[in-house]
Point group: C2
Chain length 177, copies 2
DNA sequence: AGTCTATATTCAAAAAATTGCATACACTGA
DNA sequence: TCAGTGTATGCAATTTTTTGAATATAGACT
């Protein structure tokens, strides 16, 4: 169960509110760990009860108050413990590929159109990731050294998206034949 | 909810028992749709109740009897309906990347070792996929034409694994610095 | 004032996945 | 005969994910 640890990892980077975390899960962390806001808040409550994180209320100007959480010593220990133990390879559930597998049952143009839609999405994602990479590579060397591991997750995203687009091109060519 | 459709797609290809399906989910379909035997049997029961599949009991020599399911007309219609509607991009929950993101907290050798373990796994998967590809490409042209869409799912797997291994190489090099 | 949007959080229910456990048939080898 | 392995199926509980719904603060605009 790694949502807990994804949250702890992010809180270890900087204290955050539920909403801040949600933004991170829409970008950054979210490229490799999907989480819904209900999950995040629920998990924050649990982590707080377990004393792995602590809570402080923060008043904001022009915005509602927010609850800021930060990781505790206990939380950091729990996180380190998890980090030292091996995880299993992630499992894939890709409905698009199920559709491709059974695609002979439908009109090939429909399949092509859908592939092109997904291609568009993936192009956007790749663009976003490349922008993030450019920003990172323009940052000072100590920043680059500090964040070299998060950068690796970015590289994984980029290489994965590029592979996907290579495949999509191939697939569309085959479908046109 | 695509387990249902993954099962229907496979049953459309050929009638199968729960056990047969399980083997398919360990290979072939399983590279892009993960399913546990409990899920499969449960889903077969539901699909049968819904008349999307029909059941026949088959006696075997030297083995226990098996229940063979085949897709019904209604099932084929349901499947086609699903196939014509767009699906969302699949979501990623990759614990390894969460670990890489927070990897500065642990001994870098531990992280390297784990990456190398995963690398080994991915190499094996790629090998399996390439073997499957070779077999496919050695098959008669009409077979290749018939299964060109399932072949596309294989190609996706191969390109994805290759991208993963490229990344792993890059990551290990960075970790060694 | 009301509507819309953004920020911020919460509760609840349903669906799906995972884990644990179990049973039965059949064969093989000690 | 028993233990181990493979084939074959099933039930139940727990955990995780998804979906739906809602509330509150605050600002901007009509």
């Amino acid at each position: 169960m790694s949502l807990k640890h994804a949250i702890l990892v992010q809180l270890e980077t900087e204290p955050s509110s539920g909403y801040d975390l949600l933004q991170h899960f829409k970008s950054g962390l979210g490229y490799f760990w999907n989480a819904k806001h209900q999950q995040i808040y629920q998990q924050l409550k649990t982590l707080s009860e377990q004393k792995l994180i602590s809570l402080s209320l923060e008043k904001q100007k022009g915005r509602p108050d927010k609850k800021t959480y930060q990781i505790t010593k206990l939380g950091t220990e729990e996180l380190k413990h998890w980090l030292t133990n091996p995880v299993k390879p992630h499992k894939i559930n890709d409905a698009l590929l199920v559709k491709v597998y059974g695609g002979h049952l439908i009109d090939q143009e429909n399949l092509q159109n859908e592939l092109m839609l997904h291609k568009k999405t993936h192009k956007k994602i790749l663009q976003d990731l490349l922008n993030m990479e450019r920003t990172f590579l323009e940052s000072p060397p100590q920043t680059q050294e500090k964040y070299k591991l998060p950068y690796l997750t970015l590289r994984r995203g980029i290489l994965g998206e590029q592979a996907w687009l290579t495949w999509a091109k191939e697939a569309l060519e085959m479908l046109k034949k």
